[in-house]
Symmetry: C2
Subunit: 221 residues, 2 copies
DNA sequence: TTCGTCATGTAATGGGTTACATGATTAC
DNA sequence: GTAATCATGTAACCCATTACATGACGAA
């Protein structure tokens, strides 16, 4: 069961667009690189992969193609299944990337949308960031109103919880402001850019500090 | 369908402990007073109420008991159903309040646990806060490790997302530190307090600024 | 009289998890 | 040779949502 996944489907297509992978690896990337937000389990991933194959957006390939000696291709030997995005899949993912419906900035979707901003056009990026911001501002307004009405009825802990919640939202708004400003600055530097400029266009943040050597050990679930 | 709700069940019992209410009102309080976290719908609330009645933790009472003139108690007139906590329900809720399993500090549960800290013993409060803190610190460690390993493979947006995520978690840790300190200070001020001191014991935060007059208008869904 | 909001519910569905079952490969 | 981890899956369940159906009550 479980057709029409939405967020998981989106993430899978997005990761596979970067490079083909098998399910196990996909899940790890889902929970680390893109992680923090959600942790998907095999029980949702594999069925999702199956339906994506049925849609024609992925194809399954055997992990060890012909370069395997002692070929015993039939019988035994469970091969890794590597999933690769088809042309249709790529096209479909690009449609999804271009969408700016209200879904795009709800809590569950926003994070994953942001994670693929590297593949998203600046127009869409800005719209999603602004949508998110006004969503949060609505929320703030409601919280403030509710707080004003009920303040004296609430105990200190409930109050503290709401205060902390509001501060968190305010903080995200400030973050969005910076990002939006940064995107706009990027646009202004390149006036009337003729829409096409596929890679190397990521507008914003020049982070990257050095330190901390690579270390092994991984994975929870 | 839908037995064993967990978080919804907990919240309902907790709100009804403060005063009896009918379903509609209960849902509003769920989404404002305790809100921010989740928004429950009638489709989950009413079935939940029903099972709680079956357990014997709630009883249903008619909303307009005898003080209604022109009594037409049977036929027509859909009465409000007011739910009241039974003695068993109260006892059960207190057991739930006392629990400090790892569940208590997971994302989904922590907020609601905190919301009822006013009814929770200080011991339990501290344990839950500390549990939450160490949970977040684990998470931070994992994020840092993962970031160190994958930094150069990630684009600026993914990096920025992770950075913001980590800062959020760090911020919550600092918040928890303050709360824990505040709880400990409360205990030290009252050495060997003999365990009983029912109300007015809320340990921590003397917030409360004035301003903003009461205003009507409410509710989303 | 119609609209908004109060008020209670059910059926179908959704999107995911847990637990289970199975087996290959690698490191010690 | 055995434990850890890699790797793929299924079935049963969970907790909630959406959409729907129903109807009372107050105010414009």
């Amino acid at each position: 069961m479980s057709r029409r996944s939405g967020i998981l489907e989106f993430a899978v297509l997005g990761l596979l667009r970067e490079s083909p992978m098998h399910g196990y690896e996909l899940r790890k990337r889902l929970n680390t690189s893109l992680g923090v937000f959600r942790a998907f389990s095999y029980g949702s991933l594999y069925p999702c992969l199956k339906t994506l194959v049925q849609q024609g957006w992925l194809i399954e390939e055997s992990g060890n193609p012909p370069e395997d000696p002692l070929a015993a291709p039939l019988s035994g030997r469970r091969a890794k299944i590597v999933y690769r995005l088809t042309a249709e899949g790529k096209e479909h993912f690009e449609e999804l990337l271009a969408q700016t419906g209200p879904d795009a900035w709800e809590d569950e979707h926003f994070g994953i949308r942001f994670a693929f901003f590297g593949q998203t056009s600046r127009d869409v990026r800005v719209r999603v960031l602004e949508g998110r911001r006004s969503r949060l501002e609505e929320r703030l307004a409601k919280m403030r109103a509710s707080l004003a009405r009920t303040r004296e009825r609430l105990d200190d802990y409930t109050l503290e919880l709401q205060r902390h919640g509001m501060e968190s939202v305010e903080r995200e708004v400030r973050w969005l402001n910076e990002l939006i400003e940064s995107e706009r600055a990027g646009r202004d530097r390149r006036p009337e850019a003729p829409e096409e400029r596929r890679p190397e266009e990521t507008g914003g943040q020049p982070r990257h500090r050095e330190g901390t050597p690579p270390d092994p050990s991984d994975d929870t679930n």
